[in-house]
Amino acid sequence: MTLLSNRLKLATSVVALTIAGLAQTASADTLRLLTWGGYAPEDVVAAFEAETGHTVEVTLSNNEEMIAKLRATGGGGFDLAQPSQDRIAGPQAEFGIYKPMDLSKIDESQFIPSMLAATKGNTTVDGAVYGVPHVWGTSGLVVDTAKAPGVKDYTDLCSADVAGKVSYRLKRPTLIGFAFAMGLDPFAAYGDEAAYTAVMEKVEAKLKDCKPNVKTYWGGGDELMNLLRSGEVVASMAWDTGGWKLNADNPDITFVAPASGALGWIDTFVLPAKGGADQAAYDWINYVMQPEVAAQITAVAGNFTASKGADEFASDELKARYQASFSPAAVDNIKWYPPVPAGLEVIEGGVLDRVQAAK
């Protein structure tokens, strides 16, 4: 069985290499990839370069910086970017920084169909599809279950028994998470600026009340890791992978899906408007969506991918942690981010500034 599959793999890669070699002699490109930490591990890049002849230059970033970078150049400087699926339609309508995908160049059979369909739907602008899914995950709570057993939802971060020992980011996921925990539905209000402002005002009041409880607002993942590891913070809003990483060091700390629902995100592949190496970009997408490669990325990034069949290659530890954090009901309760309409950032921005400045 293994022998056969190994041989098959060898045969396919030889064929692929030959075809690639023939095709690429004329067009070995440099792929400038704008992505997140862990999404382009060195061994994957090396294997891709060996197979296709392209070279890959990786730039690490986050959602906001990706869009800001592409906006500064009108969509130039990179050939492939990986913003979240909710941050594509809005910026595209506003700034025109992406270009439509040629789906015929992508092997769609490698994707989990429901996730592919959802991402396509969310990233369609004027009838053209701009994004396909890559890595997905959730944000929720990372809790030291021994020291803060009572924290089950975002609003529990404001309770008196964890005073001075909680942290969260002053970013939009916090606003959205708190809104859900307070029984509001911010996603339903996305399309209506007045309704959304009303929701955000309630969240603002809550966050101001909660402020004395907060030790500090964390900015980067490493900062949060330090706070939790040292025990200075016992409960925080964070990504699932952060919790699982800490769980490996300290079994008490883990990711908890909040009662009101974890917030689900999907990071995608998009082509920047002035990208020059589209073929290399498509090659990269098709390469990393192979189940074995996707599993390698999962091992480094800690999150699962939209690649069909990659779960089988994921490590048992990661699967165990995932299942401990997510009961089937919690999976069904994940709130997936719908596309952010242009202009919402301004409303949220005012709220975040006022919360930060509040006494």
């Binding site: 906001e64 800001a68 309508a93 700034f95 402020k211 500090t216 202009g343 950032e345």
Partner: protein, 285 residues
């Protein structure tokens, strides 16, 4: 001969002019135009002063603006108070090898980047950090002491970051003061305070002013230190600019903020020069 001198002059001036126009003047014109733009719809913009009105209409922005200015002035004053005795010692009292090694000691922290220096302070001040642990070990504190994430920590960081830029001009001006003048002051019946007030400070004024200008500008435009040490309450104006540009995609408001900061710093520096009776020429010459 004259033509040759002129050519030399032009050649020497060219890098400066290129620097100024390409990296300072043109981007600022672009920023000004950007700040006068208002988003009226998806991808549509109109010229209007709306961003500046937002700035003046929202108390939060004005408050942060004033807070940043006051804290920067305070940081400058503290830096001056600490740096003056240090510089006087280096320039007048220490001699030979001690003098150069003291000067080097002021310089050494600047061989690592500001980020590393700030992290150093975080390691010292945090709840599980060195100072807190030491206090508990000595029995001076019963539980962990949190010294990070407040205005005092931020002020420490700001003063530390800008110390060198105060010490260098002060040492230079103080070195040019003839010791005989100080001795003459004492001979004429002056005491330590009156010599300091009548002789040393007037002589060192250009150094004090230029050092203060540099330190003030560095503090006002600092992003790293307030963000990392300041914590949840201390919003710095540069953080507002950053978040408008990067997080909110609101370049228009960010550009307006940038211009307000430019105007603020210019006004305060001008005011300081007027107040001390100095001119820029005297200070820089």
């Amino acid at each position: 001969m004259q033509a040759g001198a002129r050519l030399g002059f032009i050649l020497l001036l060219t890098p400066l002019l290129l620097w100024l126009t390409l990296l300072i003047i043109i981007p600022h014109i672009d920023m000004l135009l950007l700040s006068l733009r208002e988003r009226v719809g998806v991808g549509q913009y109109a010229t209007s002063p709306a961003n500046y009105l937002t700035f003046f209409g929202e108390p939060l922005y004005l408050r942060t603006f004033m807070r940043t200015a006051v804290m920067s002035v305070l940081a400058t004053v503290i830096t001056l108070l600490i740096a003056f005795p240090v510089s006087f010692y280096i320039a007048k009292i220490a001699r030979g090898r001690v003098q150069s090694s003291l000067f080097l000691l002021c310089l050494v922290p600047f061989w690592v980047s500001e980020l590393v220096r700030t992290f150093g302070w975080m390691i010292l001040l945090r709840e599980t950090g060195l100072i807190s642990t030491l206090l508990q070990y000595l029995g001076l504190a019963s539980g962990p002491v949190e010294m990070l994430y407040n205005d005092a920590a931020m002020m420490v960081g700001l003063v530390y970051t800008s110390m060198l830029f105060m010490v260098v001009p002060l040492v230079t001006t103080l070195e040019s003061l003839d010791d005989a003048v100080i001795e003459a002051g004492y001979d004429l019946g002056g005491n330590g305070f009156s010599v300091l007030r009548e002789i040393i400070i007037p002589h060192a004024t250009p150094g004090i002013v230029s050092g203060s200008i540099v330190v003030f500008m560095l503090s006002l435009g600092n992003y790293l230190t307030p963000t990392m040490l300041g914590g949840k309450d201390s919003l710095w104006f540069t953080e507002l600019i950053y978040s408008q540009f990067i997080v909110r995609f609101n370049w228009e408001l960010g550009a307006a903020f940038g211009f307000m900061l430019l105007i603020l710093s210019s006004v305060i520096v001008w005011g300081m020069l007027r107040l001390t009776g100095q001119t820029l020429e005297k200070t820089m010459g």
